[in-house]
């Protein structure tokens, strides 16, 4: 099948969603994170530790693929790293958590609200963001991703101990999450200052890990403050939340935290659409491992099914990957994903395949 050409810019396409009108075709957010280093042929560790390379890599990836969202993130521990958590850098992979900073309860004293001009790789994130906004901000949406307070706290404490704290040290764990929330709110302001879209990722709040009850008690109150901050200081920008893994059991408490756009992973998009109603725009959810392993035709088929399930959702649907595009994903598979949005998500002609929901994206 012929792939129709885009005449809208990426930014025009994405702005259509915010204006409540149909774009020419649905947007596509493959979550290109560490894979961007491939676009400038440098190892991941080099790319994500240098603002200029990090920025250039994402601009180059955008120019190569035409993804509708640039996403600055190398690991969900970046804020924790700036708060004092040590990381192990790996030559050609995302960094991983070293020994937890907060081994004993009293180690909470060692956790600091970061200085955004110097701590960890925050200057790399913010410098790269500035670079991309200056280079391509007029044509594509640039976003900078930070971990939610619950995920940052888990990184500082070590996830296995942290989940036990939720039962054994409730008051204390709220204190730790509060610190992470304060750091996150500041990060949001720094990102907004640079005219980038802050996106919050809260993978430790996934229902693959925690229950709706834990979510409501330890995740919701802080996530709500983050979305409130974006709504208050974002000049009309939507609040975007990404949670990977299974999320369905936690949708209810998630909805109460007031995020406009949900990027989802291991869920059925038809169920998500029914739940989202007219409150939430959905992004998702081609299986990341399939992007790495499957053929372009298989990617196309998977994306087509997702489009059929989700297009017509009242607040709109954006095709995307469920989680990070794997570092070694073959470029033609990302092309296949974006081409699927061009094929199956059109609103500009009657003679092209446009499953369901002509009225809205």
């Amino acid at each position: 099948m012929q792939i129709p050409e885009d005449t809208q810019t990426s930014l025009e396409r994405v702005l259509s969603y915010l204006q409540g009108v149909n774009p020419q075709r649905i947007a596509c957010f493959p979550l290109i994170l560490n894979h961007a280093s491939r676009a400038i042929n440098v190892p991941v560790s080099k790319c994500i530790q240098n603002a200029e390379l990090f920025g250039k890599a994402h601009v180059a990836a955008y120019r190569r693929y035409g993804n509708d969202l640039i996403t600055f993130l190398s690991s969900t521990s970046s804020l924790a790293e700036a708060m004092g958590q040590k990381m192990n850098f790996i030559e050609d992979d995302a960094p991983q958590l070293a020994d937890p900073l907060v081994k004993q309860l009293e180690d909470i004293e060692r956790v600091k609200i970061p200085d955004f001009s110097s701590d960890g790789r925050l200057p790399v994130y913010l410098g790269a963001t500035e670079h991309a906004v200056a280079e391509v901000g007029h044509e594509v949406c640039v976003s900078t991703v930070l971990a939610g307070p619950f995920t940052t706290a888990a990184a500082l404490r070590g996830a296995d101990v942290f989940v036990r704290d939720l039962y054994n040290n409730k008051e204390w764990v709220h204190k730790l999450i509060e610190l992470c929330c304060q750091a996150g709110l500041k990060f949001i302001d720094e990102i907004l200052k640079r005219k980038s879209l802050p996106i919050v990722a809260e993978p430790i709040g996934s229902a693959s890990l925690v229950s709706p009850r834990v979510f409501a008690e330890f995740v919701s109150p802080y996530l709500k403050r983050m979305s409130d901050r974006i709504h208050a200081n974002g000049g009309g920008l939507p609040a975007v939340l990404h949670i990977c893994g299974k999320t369905k059991p936690n949708w209810k408490p998630m909805r109460e935290t007031d995020w406009d756009i949900w990027s989802l992973d291991a869920v059925d998009m038809a169920e998500a659409r029914a739940f989202a109603g007219d409150r939430v725009t959905l992004v998702g959810n081609v299986t990341p491992a399939n992007l790495l392993k499957n053929t372009p035709d298989e990617i196309d088929a998977e994306a087509k099914i997702i489009c059929e399930k989700a297009i017509g959702s009242p607040r709109g649907f954006i095709l995307g990957s469920g989680c990070e595009v794997p570092i070694n994903t073959p470029p033609q598979n990302i092309d296949a994903l974006i081409n699927a949005a061009r094929r199956y998500g059109r609103f500009d002609a009657d003679d092209v395949v446009s499953p369901k929901g002509k009225s809205c994206c």
């Binding site: 036990r164 039962y167 890990l209 925690v210 491992a289 794997p326 070694n328």
Partner: protein, 247 residues
């Protein structure tokens, strides 16, 4: 006949008859229920005190474990499958279980148990995410497998070496990352190269793993979660042809 338990019991004549009868008549059921409930309800304190009580009242340690603690952990596993319990709950249940086991284990008559099925488990090299692996380890342990946990970021050859060394029947490989999933195929290749692939069942799990991936790389099974892992592991072992014991 000498039972290791007897020396912990006060001599009979020191115990008043009525007290003894009421203790023994009441206790087996009640103690077992408390052991089970303490695990199910994440009550580590109750698990520890009830385990001590079990020993003091002369309850058989094997009985206390299999008909008490394990029953509670299996109930927790059911709640996990039903999405009543999630990872924190299951881990804290297991904390209560292991705290009580620490007390009961020294009183176990090792010979009364059957020979256990050896299982080598670990997170493949390059990945340090081990919560999922730990849950599977707990549930397989409770199901009666002999667990050899290699931990996380495990060099691939170690899986093969350990499985040979302990004459395991099951090798469980876990990863959460797409960058390391291919290492699982390498382990299977290593087994083939040594000509010992048939001696082991290889079970895979982790975020990016699917049944299709497991089939593609020639693994024997895939499990979506910790409870599922026990079911699949048991099926695989049941299907395993009886091979001559290694000399």
């Amino acid at each position: 006949m000498f039972f290791p338990l007897t020396f912990t019991r006060p001599p009979l004549r020191e115990r008043p008859f009525f007290a003894r009868r009421s203790v023994m008549a009441r206790e087996r059921e009640d103690i077992l229920k408390d052991l089970s409930d303490s695990v199910l309800n994440m009550n580590l304190g109750l698990a520890v005190s009830t385990a001590r009580e079990a020993i003091e009242s002369g309850l058989d340690a094997f009985d206390a474990i299999t008909n008490g603690l394990v029953v509670g952990m299996n109930k927790a596993g059911v709640l996990y499958e039903e999405e009543e319990y999630f990872v924190p709950e299951l881990l804290i249940c297991s904390d209560a279980l292991y705290a009580a086991l620490d007390i009961l284990n020294p009183y176990l008559n090792r010979e009364e148990g059957q020979a256990k099925i050896g299982c080598v488990i670990g997170v493949v090299e390059g990945d340090t995410h081990d919560i999922g692996k730990n849950l599977v380890k707990i549930m397989l342990d409770v199901a009666g497998f002999e667990i050899h946990d290699l931990g996380r970021n495990v060099p691939l050859a170690n899986f093969v070496e350990k499985a040979k060394e302990v004459d395991a029947q099951l090798i469980c490989l876990s990863t959460l990352m797409t960058t390391t999933m291919d290492e699982m195929a390498t382990v299977i290749e290593m087994l083939k190269e040594e000509g010992i692939r048939d001696r082991f069942k290889v079970l895979l799990g982790g975020g990016p793993i699917s049944q299709a991936f497991a089939d593609r790389i020639g693994a024997d099974g895939y499990a979506d979660n910790a409870a599922d892992a026990v079911r699949v592991a048991k099926e695989l072992i049941a299907r395993k042809p009886v091979t001559a014991a290694r000399t």
